[in-house]
Amino acid sequence: MRTLNATDADKTADLAEAVRAAKVAATPLKIAGGGTRDFLGRRVVGQVLSVSGHRGIVDYDPAELVITARAGTPLSEIETALDAERQMLAFEPPRFGMAGTLGGMVATGLSGPRRPFTGAVRDFVLGARVLNGHGEALRFGGTVFKNVAGFDAFRLMAGAYGGLGVLLDISLRVVPKPRLEQALAFDMPGAAARAWVTDLMRKPVPLSGAFHDGTRLHLRLSGGEAGVTATARALGGETEDLAVWTRVRDLTHPALVGKPVLWRIVLPQTSARPDVLHAPWDQGGGVTWLQADHVDPAIWEIAKAHGGHATLFRGGGDNIFQPLEPAIFSLHQRLKAALDPAAILNPGRMYEGL
């Protein structure tokens, strides 16, 4: 089913030993993969624990719709393997450079434009093997889609920024590539576009992307030939190159670059938007990308007041993620202590004191 690469290696024993030693010495560890997502989250001061040598696809059987790989495996290697079988990762993870790894993708839990139509990273994680803060390798979940034995600690690892365990191996559910995709663009203001997209999403339309760049709405259709063609004809608009979606996914689209500060604001698709949040949006209006010259802390409150939360994607300082309610934060601390009692795994990457 797969060819072994010369770089494939199982470093579980070395990594476990390093975590155990760090625990004994009470040395915080900064978990590192390809380094492409270093810019996300708070800065961790600690000894670098590199997972990038722990790599290789362990199992991939296209008929199972499941791939299992070590956390240090480059995301590009996984996508190449899937592509050869006409399969893909449904949640369309962004890439911030060729070195990005599977582990970093899961740990940061970021999903791309397809997310509201197909699901998030955590929806497709079937299982994970992780090192807890004692340096023990634990396996949560499995390689099958339906599995309700034990708590779903593997889903919890998606977006936990390594604070609950060092990811070793991850099993992901994959999906067939759509037989046809088509990109369309429309001249339409943001508010009207969001209302239209919301209406479209009430119907079984093969939509797989809805991005507004500030002046134009970009839609992507994915599915069977007949359905996509018929829908494209019904929607109208102007056909454009699908490459625009790679730029939206990787945040290299011109509407998303230029200023030092970039907020990622996640709001309910239908919530009211104050003027200050009028900015390019993706994911059908669920994610607003707001650029600025300076960090305005009022954004946290505005996001919360509109039923969502904000993250300082670029240009943040000490506070990067939306502040949590005290009861929720204390639950986070107790969970952290449950899996990493010595607080050595990426301490403070998400919040101070976590």
């Binding site: 059987d61 296209p62 199972e64 719709l65 299992t68 006409r86 509201p116 955590r122 929806d123 994970a128 093997r129 807890n132 023990e136 634990l138 396996r139 949560f140 979940g141 499995g142 390689t143 099958v144 889609f145 339906k146 599995n147 309700v148 034995a149 034990g150 708590f151 779903d152 600690a153 889903r155 919890l156 998606a158 936990a160 099993s171 999906v175 919301t198 009430r202 119907k203 339309v205 069977g224 007949a226 359905g227 018929a230 829908t231 996640v266 709001l267 919530s271 669920g286 039923g307 969502g308 939360h309 939306q322 949590l324 009861a327 929720i328 934060f329 639950l331 986070h332 107790r334 969970l335």
Partner: protein, 499 residues
Amino acid sequence: MLDQFDPQLDPVFASVPVARLVEVLGPLLPANGLISSVEGLRPYESDGLPAYRSLPAVVALPETVAQVQAVLRACSAMDVPVVARGAGTGLSGGALPFPGGVLLSLSRFNKILEIDPQARTARVQPGVRNLAISEAVAGLGLFYAPDPSSQLACSIGGNVAENAGGVHCLKYGLTVHNLLSVELVTMDGTLLTLGSAATEAAGFDLMALITGSEGLLGVVTEVLVRLTPLPDIARVILAAFDDVERAAGAVAEIIAAGIIPAGLEMMDGPALRAAEDFAHAGYPKSAAAILLCELDGQAVDVAEEIDRVSALLTAAGATDVRTAKDEEERRRFWAGRKGAFAAMGRIAPDYYCIDGTIPRRALPRVLTEIGRLADAHGVGVANVFHAGDGNLHPLILYDANIDGDLERAEAAGGAILELCVEVGGTITGEHGVGREKINQMCAQFSASEVTAFHAIKRAFDPQGLLNPGKAIPTLARCAEYGGLHIHRGEMPFAHLERY
């Protein structure tokens, strides 16, 4: 039969007199909100797994979130265990009362609070029935996708606790994929909102952790579910095979061809014959196995996929491939499948339903092996299952009136579950561990993994009062039972990587 809790192997709590519980909890609940008479407790002695029975000290029936908070706070202060119960349709004994404890029924939380067609969401109380949501939003062109076979009766709170699946989850996902947020009361009475009306919330994904936690971490008091647009059309294909392994092979062919059916179900000879006699679905009774493959979506795409799947099934060796000609025939094809469990009553007095999931590629081997294991234990077996996602439901047939028959059925069931773990699968795909599979957890998870689960539980419930003796075994229990099947400290099939 493992229906009694064992003080050596399960959590133990100091007994609190019933009179004391009544005195403390009575004032916190509405009139008729507390039951303590034995005849009043009897209806709560078991859930959908009636072979397991025990009586709680009292049943509490709160009507408001504040009452739930007050009851949990009071039980926490008295160190009294609490078992939450929805509709009581669970198949793993998850709502089995803990003797001496409080059974907390959420049956009065039965309102749909808000439907937002634009946002495609419904805000519901936990006691609302699964199907009631789809019925309430059908006129808006929407539905709630997860459809466990008990959807007529089961409650959404129980669905969250079990991460319920169903026929459609291959395409539409499990409960966890169709939730936006839950309100949860922890044992100390704190009300938390996990998840968000937006697609994600800040911090750890606690809502995903809560889903499927079998009532061990908190009590769900409100759920915001995601609704899905109804497909334009749904059509079903019935394919007959004269060989079970060929039918299993056809399942892999369909998936490998890049088609994700809305449902892909399989029944073997004994199951399909019982179902046909019961429901007159139109199944070919001479077949060794049948597949039901449902395709839904836009009409033009479905027509195209029906052709592709029909050709694949024929190429895979199907002896007969039929597409339901109209909605009436489609309903009949499904009626046989949905009535399959009930139909078993015609061929055996009792059956024991197994719920393991395996990788699809292991289907042919496991089906053969299940037949061998049933023969070896002297029991009959019929297979009805969600083939598309490898979720098996072997029904082990027995007669409870024959001495030793239930024990033989349980032994065969245990052996089948261990086989599922051996081939890289799991002991439960959708029914939950509950009380029923507590010992098999020790075959699937190591002592450190079980310890981690307990640590996660303590983060929510430090006293261990919520649903004790369920879902996560004590280490003492694993020492007693888990070692049985691990020979010389080695997992079977040690050469296979396990995830």
